[in-house]
């Protein structure tokens, strides 16, 4: 895989299709897998792809980089890049997607990540170049609905209690926001103080406000890469709330994030057939 990836990248440089490539490399000193930007074809020999490549590189995309920029993408990462193109952050021609056949990654080095067990899209839907064998990729072991079933079965009081406990360790460090590839607002709602929508200090009410608003901002935009939860130094399971809303968006609007490029996000459009029944009543499992 590494060899095929390196060849593909060198080829892209040789054809002038990219001026830089975002990929993964093994740090020579710490031996951990880190993100890297290469601007010369000979540096492609440092690129790797294996089940340690957990990070979502789409977060590192910025218009400061020498464009067009190639980016090594797993399935989830590619959907994030696709969304950023849909949302107008980048023009399609500025990105060259190097899709790798990803069998799933292991953040702890031993077990397949929870999100990978659910993954239905091991290869990026946005792919200019594909590397690896896409025919032999695993099927999902469980569904998103199963993951959120326990919350669906709870009463309102139980749900509230669950989230209060889940969000209690939150310190408002906003690491979840910084690592999310879709958190791209120039001025985040948390940084606005006229009016102050979300208080900056940690307490039950502001922790809930932050995570609810974060989830709402990601409704229909989250690609289930799970970086938010992995980045959280206190182990807050905020990604679970994103999954709950992802179920709703898919059910209501038949929209799967980042699969098609272009087109409109469901909140930017409407269908005259949208039923009024959406507006009323509880949502029970």
């Amino acid at each position: 895989m590494n060899q095929a990836l390196r060849e593909a990248v060198k080829h892209l440089f040789a054809e002038g299709k990219v001026k830089s490539v975002l990929g993964y490399r093994e740090h020579p000193l710490s031996k951990a897998v880190v993100a890297t930007l290469i601007t010369r074809p000979e540096d492609a020999d440092t690129l790797i792809f294996d089940d340690r490549c957990v990070q979502n590189l789409a977060r590192g995309l910025s218009r400061d980089l020498p464009l067009p920029v190639g980016i090594v993408v797993k399935g989830c990462d590619g959907r994030a890049v696709s969304m950023r193109i849909t949302e107008g952050d980048f023009a399609r021609e500025q990105i060259v997607a190097i899709a790798v056949a990803c069998p799933g990654v292991k953040a702890d080095g031993k077990n397949l990540d929870e999100r990978c067990q659910r993954c239905e899209m091991h290869v990026s839907p946005l792919a200019d170049v594909t590397v690896g064998d896409v025919s032999a990729l695993p099927k999902p072991e469980k569904t998103r609905a199963e993951t959120i079933a326990k919350i669906k079965a709870m009463t309102p009081a139980e749900r509230f209690e669950f989230w209060q406990k889940a969000f209690e360790p939150c310190t408002h460090c906003y690491a979840c926001r910084e690592v999310c590839p879709l958190c791209s607002c120039t001025v985040c709602v948390t940084d606005q103080n006229s009016p102050r929508w979300i208080e900056q200090t940690a307490k039950p009410s502001s922790n809930l406000m932050w995570h609810m608003i974060r989830a709402f901002h990601h409704a229909g935009r989250c690609v289930d890469c799970g970086e938010c939860q992995r980045a959280c130094p206190e182990g807050v399971p905020m990604h679970l709330l994103d999954l709950c809303l992802a179920e709703d968006v898919e059910e209501l609007f038949d929209f799967k994030t980042g699969i098609k490029q272009g087109g409109k996000w469901p909140f930017l459009m409407f269908d005259p057939q949208d039923p009024d029944s959406w507006l009323g009543g509880p949502h029970r499992g």
Binding site: L22, H27, L29, S30, A32, V33, V34, A35, T36, L37, Q55, R59, G60, S62, D64, P169, T171, C173, Y174, A175, E178, V179, V187, C188, D191, N193, R196, E199, Q200, T201, A202, E227, R230, A231, P233, E234
Partner: protein, 329 residues
């Protein structure tokens, strides 16, 4: 001197609240001394001195001038059990900011004056680097009392006059010989601290951008760093009662240097990483000879969600600078 756990516990509880690291690594007041892990907890001990959120003043909105009630510094006597040398040394750095005349922070001073620091020696882990900064896991210079865990209690040494006075009040066990302090660990590839002036001279080196590519500026390193001390002031209100707060800030946030009018000198992500490295390894040593803005606790390495290694960054950039200097010479 030897001291049993029960004796120590009783003596500390008599003083007042005893702060210890909880299972989740946060500082909590308890009645019973817990078993500690081998190294520092997740949250640094600075939380007790520069907490994430501290009230400075409060007042009520309404007609007429507001009556501002400044918050009273907390002078409750107490102690902190389980302070590691890296966290304690970091407090010395914070002292330079918050205890230096003419601007002494009364809240910080009140806690420093009233909380006894009971250090506990470490069994260093793979990301512990106190040796880089010239001290080790038994260092007692920044705590009041340093304890070395033993089978049936601790061996206690005093690290300060205040610690000496405390130990004098405790039922002493037998005096025992104290082992020589162990050297502190360093990364195997480490060759030395960077030259602060050479770092600064290379402020515009293109390598900063390379290093910055793998950093997402999530700010976790800053959030958990025992020496980071930047803060901001913000108001919170509810139904007409307003509270002015001192809140911990984070230089990795994209808006940290954004000014009214929109200009932001550190808009580019790599510039914020550079700022962090420069502040700790160049500006602080230059302005405070003998001090470095880091104590090698290793939390930044453990907690980085992108598996970066801040020490490796520092090492790599110095290596590059030195190589280029040699080529020129």
């Amino acid at each position: 001197m030897k001291i049993s756990r029960e004796t120590l516990q009783a003596a500390l509880c008599k003083r007042g609240p005893v702060w210890v690291p909880s299972d989740a690594g946060r500082w909590t007041a308890v009645q019973a001394l817990p078993e500690l892990g081998p190294i520092r907890p997740r949250r640094p001990v600075k939380d007790l001195f520069t907490p994430p959120r501290r009230e400075i003043a409060r007042w009520k909105a309404g007609a007429g001038p507001a009556e501002i009630q400044p918050a009273k510094p907390d002078e409750t006597p107490g102690s902190v059990f389980g302070v590691r040398p890296c966290d304690a040394r970091a407090l010395l750095l914070l002292d330079r900011t918050f205890l230096q005349a003419p601007y002494v922070d009364p809240h910080y001073k009140a806690r420093r004056d009233n909380l006894l620091l009971i250090g506990v020696a470490c069994q260093p882990g793979p990301t512990c680097y106190c040796g880089v900064f010239g001290f080790g896991p038994d260092d007692k210079d920044a705590v009041d009392v340093m304890l070395t865990p033993e089978a049936d209690g601790f061996v206690a040494q005093s690290g300060s006059p205040r610690g000496q006075a405390f130990l004098a009040t405790v039922e002493a066990g037998a005096a025992v010989p104290v082992a020589a302090p162990r050297p502190g660990p360093k990364p195997e590839w480490w060759t030395g601290l960077p030259d602060p002036k050479a770092l600064y001279a290379n402020f515009d080196h293109p390598m900063w951008r390379e290093l910055g590519t793998s950093c997402m500026n999530c700010g976790v390193c800053t959030q958990y760093c025992p020496t980071c001390q930047c803060f901001t002031v913000d108001d919170e209100s509810f139904k007409g009662e307003i509270q002015r707060l001192r809140i911990v800030d984070n230089c990795q946030r994209s808006d940290f240097t954004r000014m009214a009018g929109g200009h932001n000198p550190r808009q580019v992500a790599a510039s914020r990483l550079r700022q962090r490295v420069m502040h700790k390894f160049s500006y602080i040593p230059t302005q405070n000879p003998g001090l470095v803005g880091c104590t090698g606790c290793g939390r930044c390495v453990d907690l980085c969600p992108l598996d970066r290694h801040l020490f490796a960054d520092v090492f790599e950039i110095m290596k590059r600078i030195n190589q280029e200097a040699e080529r020129v010479a």
